[in-house]
């Protein structure tokens, strides 16, 4: 019975759900720095200082130092326009720019190598 029970547990683990995680559907509506339980804990916020298109990497200078992050196809990118009273737009790697403000949430908070999502605030054009 115990072997059968453990077998059930294993099958359940296979058939049932993956690990719990927060939903991303509403994340685009949350301004930079305000993601609950993420901003300031599991993300880095700062200014983009370099962009490497071929490696799909970019570096952010934050108060805690410089971090380099890689983007994958699954990485969500949003252009935050809340300071303009407008909603976020879907962005792409091409929108990353030196001088942009960015917040990066890591796919793995331990390794901090790949971005799960990036929120960008583009520099305000000078008059």
């Amino acid at each position: 019975m115990r072997i059968r029970s453990l077998g059930i547990a294993l099958v359940v683990a296979l058939f049932c759900d993956a690990s719990a995680h927060g939903q991303l559907a509403t994340e685009r509506f949350i301004p930079i720095g305000q993601s609950p339980g993420i901003s300031g804990k599991l993300s880095t916020q700062g200014t983009i200082v370099s962009v490497e298109p071929e490696q799909r990497r970019f570096a952010i200078e934050s108060p805690s130092g410089r971090v380099s992050v890689r983007l994958e196809d699954s990485t969500r990118i949003w252009i935050d326009r809340h300071d303009q009273g407008q909603g976020a737009l879907a962005g792409s790697f091409d929108d990353l720019c030196e001088g942009c403000t960015a917040e990066v949430k890591y796919a793995d908070p331990e390794t901090r190598e790949v971005a799960e999502w990036v929120k960008l605030r583009l520099p305000t054009p000078s008059p």
Partner: protein
Amino acid sequence: MRGGATLAGVAAGLLLSACGSGAPPSDPQAALVARGERIFFEETFAGNGRTCGTCHRAEDNFSLSPAFIATLPADDPLFVAEFVPELAENFEKPELMRRFGLILENLDGFDDLENRFVMRGVPHVLGLRSSVASPDGPRTGWSGDGSPGDGSLRSFAVGAVIQHFTRTTRRVAGVDFRLPTEEELDALEAFQLSLGRQQDLALPLPLRDPVAARGQAIFLDPALGKCNLCHVNAGASADFGGGNLGNRNFDTGVEALPDQPAELFGAEVPPDDGFGTPGDGTFNTPPLVEAADTGPFFHDNAVPTIEAAVAFYDGDSFNSSPAGRVLAAADPEGEGIELDATQIAALAGFLRVINGLENIRASALLLERVAGLGHFERGEGARLLDRALEETRDARDVLAGAGLHPDAVAELERARALEEKALCSIFLRAYHTRQALREVEQARDRLALAHQ
């Protein structure tokens, strides 16, 4: 003069004694819960007028049934989609809301509001302290991934405000709503965790009714009802013999049910694929102690009664589902869940009785608090009596709904009448409250030999 002085002295004595012990000294946690309660029921976050309590109605067990919806006035914020032009399209489906208690959710994103949505019932928020934790992190909402950000219960309100409180479907923070502050999230979490049971039951309970007792035995039997495998102690945790797995998701085949009510109504409802995007078909396990009086049931309000919900597990949709097949594979006879009508009724009867016991527990607690209030604490007394009344009515109705414990039902009805008297009374509130408490306790003692 002597008589006057004596009269004044008596009056003073009565006044002092009537003050009673007063409210207990406030502590930070109690203050946080009280603040969370105010936010939950009053804070609109600069949105469309809705609050958390708009959908999670205290009078309806923090859920929202079609019967309750039918009592609401046309200008209730629940119906904003019907009177706010900016929300007339793609925000709610009013006919499904009113008829089936279904709320529109854009769980897979907001890029295609017209076509990408699901329709879900409003889950209650009782017993959360023992219902959402898992080794992988908390599981919130019908598919276990309801919260944004870190996925915690604390963060849930942020997603709810974005989805349900917005002034327009553009959903711009700072324009269409404001996001909750960190302090508000703390308070909301504290309040929600304070609701209902603070721990799971310890089955088996010494139930007096033989039908309910048989239902409990079926519930606990891993070869017959198998319920306790996924709903340990009628809660929301799973244990298949290898230890507590915490709150889990399962694909139980609810989406495969034929003749879904919304479809019979002629509505086109997109399929709901559950956890994740794209979904894996699994949905979160809710606790069962509060189930019997919080229907309709399942994520899409597919069935109206607890009896129908129990019968679902005897049907093809469940036994053909991934979860059903796992249970069958683990059965010595290779059988899934097979129950006859009387067994279904017994199981449902068990669930009604434990729900009734929980209602009685909550009512007794509230009545005790009222009995300890001072004479001049009228507002607080009325508030607590209102809540006690709801719990007493719920206990009465959940038992009467299946003809269970008619003697206890009568006592609960007497308790209800006394609570209403207490509400209206100026000088006899405490007396009527204690009488009501006695009736409620007698009813409880008829349901179980010893209470928890």
